[in-house]
């Protein structure tokens, strides 16, 4: 059997120049390397991609491909120009869930490569924007074979379509002093509880969780997740005054004032005359700036947990939404705390399943019905941390204001440990 001639790739060739690693060089190696098992497929794939670069159009269409017992997780791609590029006419992606925190050994990476070289194209992305390992380029026939092999070594399908989606968590507890809860535990316990919603799509639309260990939000939960779990703490920032002094001596008082003290968003910092730091913790909003800058001197407090923000999503259909505060603080320390998180997550998914319109994200549902209706359904008490400021519009019916106020004072009394008369 003679090999088909290589498609010329004059446009793509230009992406092999320059200092940054080239994906084109990688694609070509899959086509040219003597050990490659996917030469024909990758020759045609390169041909189709060059065709796209020439005509500035994409040539993939979707379809339906899945594995036994699951309804989602495979992104089917059939070529619209298969007659010219037949060997890559089917080029499906398997979305596979990564280990929480994206940890791998070289050994497991090699195993993943071997499987994908055998059953797929040999092209893998670490990772997609939702966190999936994307095994790209598989024939319909091989999808089940590839998945079986991946599944046998401990990897499971991710989400696609109207379903719970693959999640991601930051490095957190594994290597970061800013981490305010065990992100891997929260990530695994939450997602693994609702796998049925991931593997057998039946929700109105997608639902994404993301887990960041502190307000630096390294996995971009607030913009991208329907349900963002972002670590924080309630007590005071911890200060090592000796380290503060060393820092100020090193950078100078002017720089410390300009770059730390004056950049505090709530004016909660003050540099004392003896180069120690004073923090008005009641005004602090846990933004992380001073802790990020003075890493040795400052650290998050001990009363740790997370804030939950709901409703983040990208543009379609009403425009970009950011998550907004629904639970200002949940404690995340004991097993029971994590069980409570999972329980609350389940309540939100149930609410979404029952109340969202088709192709509506939960943030859009909340916008449509109003936050009070959402809070009532989830039995969450309103909290001033949920708003930038109270309403400015008078168009609201307030005839039960007194009853609502009484509830508020009752809650406050309970929080303060007082005995409430009604009990």
């Amino acid at each position: 059997m003679t090999e088909k001639p290589k498609h010329p790739t004059p446009s793509l060739d230009q992406l092999e120049e320059g200092p940054w690693p080239s994906f084109v060089t990688g694609l070509k190696r899959l086509r040219d390397d003597k050990d490659s098992k996917n030469k024909e497929m990758m020759n045609d794939l390169l041909g189709q991609l060059e065709h796209s670069y020439q005509n500035k159009l994409g040539y993939w269409k979707g379809g339906t491909v899945s594995v036994f017992s699951y309804g989602g997780g495979v992104i089917p791609r059939f070529s619209e120009v298969a007659s010219d590029f037949p060997a890559s006419k089917e080029f499906h992606t398997l979305r596979i869930q990564p280990p929480a925190g994206f940890h791998y050994t070289t050994d497991i990476l090699r195993k993943l490569c071997d499987i994908w070289e055998e059953h797929g194209s040999g092209l893998i992305a670490f990772h997609g924007q939702s966190g999936d390992i994307m095994f790209q380029g598989c024939t319909t026939e091989n999808v089940q074979l590839a998945f079986d092999e991946l599944n046998k070594i401990g990897f499971d399908m991710g989400g696609a379509g109207p379903a719970l989606r693959t999640s991601m968590s930051c490095v957190g507890h594994a290597r970061c002093e800013m981490s305010c809860y065990n992100e891997q535990k929260a990530h695994r316990e939450t997602i693994n509880e609702f796998l049925d919603e991931m593997h057998r799509p039946a929700l109105p639309y997608k639902f994404k969780f993301k887990f960041s260990g502190c307000p630096n939000d390294c996995v971009n939960a607030i913009h991208r997740a329907d349900f963002a779990v972002i670590g924080t703490w309630r007590d005071d920032i911890k200060i090592n005054q000796e380290e503060v002094k060393l820092y100020v001596e090193e950078v100078g008082r002017k720089y410390a004032n300009d770059s730390v003290i004056n950049m505090c968003p709530t004016r909660a910092l003050s540099l004392n005359d003896d180069n120690t730091l004073e923090i008005d913790n009641d005004s602090c909003v846990r933004c992380m700036h001073c802790i990020n800058v003075m890493k040795k001197a400052l650290s998050p407090g001990d009363d740790k947990g997370a804030s939950i923000l709901i409703g983040g999503k990208r543009s379609l259909k009403v425009g970009d939404l950011m998550g907004t505060v629904i639970k200002p603080f949940i404690k995340l320390e004991t097993d029971e705390d994590y069980e409570n998180l999972v329980e609350f997550a389940g309540e939100c998914i149930d609410f979404f399943a029952e109340n969202a319109l088709e192709h509506e994200r939960i943030g859009e549902t909340i916008d449509r019905i109003g936050l009070p209706a959402f809070l009532e359904a989830l039995e969450i008490d309103p909290d001033p941390n949920m708003v930038n400021h109270p309403r400015t519009s008078s168009y609201v019916r307030t005839d039960d204001f007194d009853e609502e106020s009484a509830k508020y004072f009752e809650r406050k009394a309970k929080e303060a440990g007082l005995v409430v008369a009604a009990e």
Partner: protein, 360 residues
Amino acid sequence: MNQTAPTPRLPDEVGVPDPFDYMHPVMVKNFGNWDWHERPRPGVLRHVSKSGEEIFTVRAGTQRQTDVFTIRKLCDIGDKFAEGHVRFTTRANIEFMVSKFEMVDPLIKALEAEGFPVGGTGNSVSTISHTQGWLHCDIPGTDASGVVKSLMDKLHSEFIQEEMPNRVRITTSCCQINCGGQGDIAINVQYTKPPKINHDLVAATCERPTVVARCPVAAIRPAMVNGKPSLEIDEKKCICCGACYPPCPPMQINSEESTKIAIWVGGKHSNARSKPAFHKLVVANLPNNPPRWPEVEEIVLKILYTYKENARDWERLGEWIERIGWPRFFEKTGLAFTKHHLDTWTGSRKTMNMSTHIHF
């Protein structure tokens, strides 16, 4: 009937893999017990545990769309010069963890010798986050991998050093759904023309009520065209967002005239200092010009280096603009401010200047 189809294998529904099977032993041992960290040089992190133990991380850029040969090469480096444990960042950088400082330099040399840039830490320009594009997406206007490769070639020097006022996060998206997300600078496809409908295919391909419902401005309605059930667009209402194209491929949104690129600035997900923010439009209508997108590159570099020269330490790009004001931003970058910068979508009034705070 003596032949039955083989029973397919039932999946082992394991869900999210346990990271402790793969995590570096020093990270396992000091899990949740880290004290502080520093960056001895760009691309290298030194984390110190409360137990006094240390771990060093060397971060390197990759092409994200990696072939098995490249991954094996990274594994070879991980076995020979590190300790066999790696992780990936959310921006597709690979990290090698080692327990001894002496291992750091040889590891960097090995990575650089194979063409992997070491950097992406602290106040650098990290790898551009991106989406699938022509390589694999079914609705792309451009090829994010190519845009990223072209730009990162130019930004290589800013990746391997930490010379920016603060970290810079750049994103790309191949359509207006914006899978690439929010960034200090975002490079996103922006359509400029209504879709062109192939009426012969609509009835057979598209669920028409779904498509009608998908339009953000109710510009699509069912219609009989040439005797066939199809859809028509009120082109005066159409905002050219492309939302109808995924559920109805015969409504082609991409073309030479329609598919343009817009640049947005000031997005930020961290809560540090200012609250998280969405990016804002600064330039639209740039040509979609593969394989190197030179017009996009010119604008991105202009914005980036104006920020670098003018911002104060720790100011993110959006925070710098917040301080100097938008008039100064457009002045310093030499970019045009037009009526298209005035938001017209729901809530737009809250984006207007409701004060006499004016920059002169």
